[in-house]
Symmetry: C2
Subunit: 141 residues, 2 copies
């Protein structure tokens, strides 16, 4: 998917900065923080300010081009994949991992109890498989 075209399709003016942020989200499935995006793009766009990254991510979220994930205690995280899926954050390595929804897709409704739903998030926290394996190996009980 070409980031620039994607923005235009959604009615967003495709500035250099916006294209860069959108492209980063589409090519990095790591659910990055504002800081991570800013640091990564700073190399190719040295003048890029953090405020612009904030502004752009807010804009992308409003236009449905990205999702803000509320799973991290300390930072907002963003996802360019807007299809229905859940997220898991490991409390050890802090990574955020996608959780496919086999049977939970019906939770992504547009209405519940008379309330109009604009967004749905399914958030899991715990210890990821990788950290668990590493801990088992390290402890050697």
């Amino acid at each position: 998917m070409k980031a620039a075209r994607y923005l235009v399709e959604l009615g967003i003016q495709p500035s250099v900065q916006r294209i860069a942020v959108m492209d980063y989200l589409l090519t990095h499935k790591t659910h990055p923080t504002v800081d991570e995006i800013h640091q990564a793009l700073h190399k190719s766009i040295p003048t890029l300010s953090k405020t612009t990254v904030y502004n752009t991510l807010k804009l992308l979220s409003e236009y449905g081009a990205a999702i803000m994930i509320d799973i991290d205690e300390h930072n907002k995280r963003f996802d360019g994949d807007t299809s229905p899926h859940g997220h898991f954050q490991c409390s050890s390595c802090n990574r955020v991992i996608d959780i496919p929804l086999d049977n939970g897709r019906e939770l992504f409704l547009s209405e519940v109890d008379g309330h109009t739903i604009a967004s749905v998030q399914l958030l899991y926290k715990g210890i990821c498989a990788g950290c668990k394996a590493h801990n088992d190996k390290t402890k050697q009980n």
Copy 2:
């Protein structure tokens, strides 16, 4: 449910402050913020510090006596109801409302893709029924 006894059952020393916070959570289903709890309890316990409210809520969360809800942009919110259910926040009035899980209970698992799950949250955002009705009446298109 008596707050003091509940704390003892969970192995938490039932200090005056902890009982007050626990009791507040059990008697107010409003998913209050730290500030709301502090302000409410300040009347009966004038010396209560906000740090103690933070400490207590952290403790209660760790012992499974309360749940921290990550739905609010600006504040942590807490819930004394630890049974599986979802939450909805209205972006107009900011209230957080319980969402019963008719068919989503199976999402509250203890393991997914090899990751060990410690907590699950199902979060909805949008416009609540009350605000929707009020808006419709106000606009009068």
